[in-house]
Symmetry: C2
């Protein structure tokens, strides 16, 4: 089955905005067993849109467009596609009513030009927009004049704003795709998230244990990002669910040390959940990560149950004043040292009266490195009632990547401590 | 002039990674006066790559591919394009030497398979990779068998990793494009960054003052993101530099209150620079933004000169202990209140002995709102030696957007204070 995505929008080709639709839609479809074969971005001109749609309808069973359904002058996708398919536009009462009530609920007058969103190509199925005014549209193109075979294609037009497109796709479009393009014989898929082991080593670790399942049809994919490796298991056919479930079991056993979650889970989500379930609390003392670890943890709804406080102590004075780091320790070992990391963690824990505390001190760069302590040097401390544990890393990355990798290592230290994987 | 970008990579179509090349390359080209007319993503299969390249060479003067030049089995872009263009591959000594020294400098053995990156299509110009092993390649396709006119096209192949592609494009590729495709008669472009005013209001504000320049050929574009609006001025022709410079002057005068920077500048960069130049320091006390403001400020290299300390005080206890907020104030007004924001800012400033302090207290959600203080309620305090100023906002967004918008408002309060725009 061929699926193509057409993103419309001149702002995309001017590089003013990032195209997040591509990844999001591809990911949703892949996890449902459908692979996108091509994605294209074109400007908001009639010629470019029609050319792209014509080409895609000539190849693909399913064509999805994004953008250009709104009320402004450059929203021309609906009109240009209707013209290409020779489908006259008619105003639809249900959409007019939807737009009207959308503005009424917000106590705002309905601008006249928003009514244009109710102009629907003949024969199109309307998908009401729960988070905006422009409806999604589904058109069955049959017979398909752009395919040599004349085979039917389905064309779906989605609104551009992600907060409108995403819920519409999940709730209304994907079920329709499953119904109109049923996967023959079943499909299953799971993504495991891991940290602490590179892509090649993870592949080596899993290769032998999974070889039997691979012979039976299991597909294994790896995707490395900085500080994380995703392992994706997929299978087709009647046995797919069992294959993927077995692969999941084996990988979690063999890779227990590194695998922290599933799907879209983040390491901070996992750690906050572990802390909350154990009824434990944490405090943070960050120097070189400058609040980034606190930020990641507080991105998790409900983090307030686990996080007592965080301190960003850039200066030596603040390390002494807020965390009780000894002046002598700073003078003898320097701010970036095992000893200071230990005192920071212990001080943060004592001050916050928390069960655990994490401290981070290091050199993020771009300046400040020495021969003895080069750029990227970092010490991460983890204090609990039983012990203070300090780990040394060398993270030679640009400033933002340094922060991410270092926070990842700190979260992973805590996760291992909470699962009992760090030797005490 | 037609420019097309082809991103190769099955991981892009599986939605495993975000395609950042599209925005980055389009932006660089647009700011240099070149507009990308089409972007396409295809999987790492010979058929898909060759079909996309054939189509693009049939339309475009310049075709840029990304990815597939490395040493692994799915890196087939170079081979498949050489095959399509009927250019035999020859090993190039300078590339072999570059790869060898790349590994030697890192004290790592050179894997045998990395040598394949030295296989160069006949007639291709080699662009050495300063941050990796795979070279970029430039091929003049003349005569061009895929164009009806036979007109020459230029095909550029870039490596996939952004840290290799970006410096190569800036230092080596863009100068070549400027030389081979000179802009007739000149081009100028500037992007102003603003906050605090919506897109429509910004457009209205600038419309009349700029109308004269628009009649002379100035192009004005707006791009709204959450919490920011970019204003882009561009012009072609011999008068372009003057047109853009005049537009810049007028916009900065009319929109002085809202325009904070140029190009890729962030609000935190501007604020850190203002603080550093004035020799002033700041402390932060964050509740609902959970360290995100500290994180943004410490993303700026050299922020340590301005930031003394940051405190993430989620709990009432930490607000009292670390910031000296009065128990009575918390009980009487609640943690999310004008009074507590004021005491947090003042306490942070006193504790850090800094010139300024910012405090943030609010309800990020998804839970915790009440009728009196709905989700998104936030108080931002700014303390200096002269005064404590507290501003109230209602930021009804998802959790991460809430953090961004709130931090943006806090930085903007400080920027206005530093420029003297907030009435004291």
């Amino acid at each position: 089955m061929q699926i193509e995505i057409i993103n419309t929008g001149s702002e995309l080709l001017l590089g003013r905005v990032l195209n997040t639709h591509q990844q999001w839609l591809c990911r949703q479809l892949a996890d449902a067993g459908y692979e996108v074969t091509r994605q294209v971005t074109v400007a908001d001109t009639g010629e470019a849109i029609q050319q792209a749609v014509r080409e895609s309808l000539g190849r693909a069973d399913l064509v999805i467009t994004t953008g250009g359904l709104g009320p402004t002058a450059d929203d021309i996708t609906r009109d240009k596609i209707a013209e290409l398919l020779e489908r006259p536009l008619h105003e639809d009462d249900s959409v007019v009513e939807h737009v009207r009530s959308f503005f009424a609920r917000r106590n705002r007058p309905m601008p006249d030009r928003t009514r244009i969103q109710a102009m629907i190509p003949e024969g199109a199925e309307i998908v009401q927009n729960a988070h905006g005014t422009a409806p999604g549209l589904i058109i069955g193109v049959a017979p398909n004049p752009f395919r040599a075979t004349g085979d039917r294609s389905v064309l779906i037009m989605l609104p551009g704003p992600p907060r409108e497109l995403q819920p519409m796709f999940t709730a209304q479009i994907l079920p329709m795709i499953r119904e109109q393009f049923p996967l023959l014989g079943g499909f299953a898929c799971i993504t495991l998230k891991s940290t602490g082991l590179g892509e090649t080593l993870m592949e080596e670790l899993l290769e032998n244990p999974l070889s039997g399942l691979v012979r039976e049809g299991l597909q294994v994919g790896f995707c490395a990002r900085t500080g994380e490796v995703d392992v994706r298991f997929a299978a087709n056919g009647p046995n797919s669910a069992a294959l993927v479930a077995n692969a999941d079991l084996i990988a979690r056993k063999v890779g227990a040390e590194y695998i922290f979650g599933t799907g879209e889970e983040s390491l901070e989500q996992v750690v906050v959940q572990m802390l909350t379930e154990a009824g434990k609390t944490i405090a943070l003392a960050e120097s070189c990560t400058g609040g980034y670890l606190a930020n990641r943890i507080t991105n998790v709804p409900g983090a307030s149950a686990a996080l007592v406080s965080g301190m960003v102590t850039y200066s030596n004075e603040s390390k002494m004043d807020l965390l009780g780091v000894q002046k002598a320790t700073l003078e003898q070992h320097g701010a970036v040292s095992n000893a200071v990391a230990g005192e920071m963690a212990e001080g943060a824990r004592a001050r916050a009266k928390s069960d655990y505390a994490i401290s981070i001190t290091g050199i993020a760069g771009p300046t400040g490195g020495t021969t003895e302590k080069p750029l990227g040097t970092v010490y991460i401390g983890l204090a609990s009632a039983d012990e203070i544990f300090v780990q040394h890393y060398l993270n030679t990355f640009d400033r933002k990547t340094f922060k991410f990798v270092t926070a990842q290592q700190a979260l992973e230290m805590l996760r291992r401590r909470l699962t009992g994987l760090i030797p005490v």
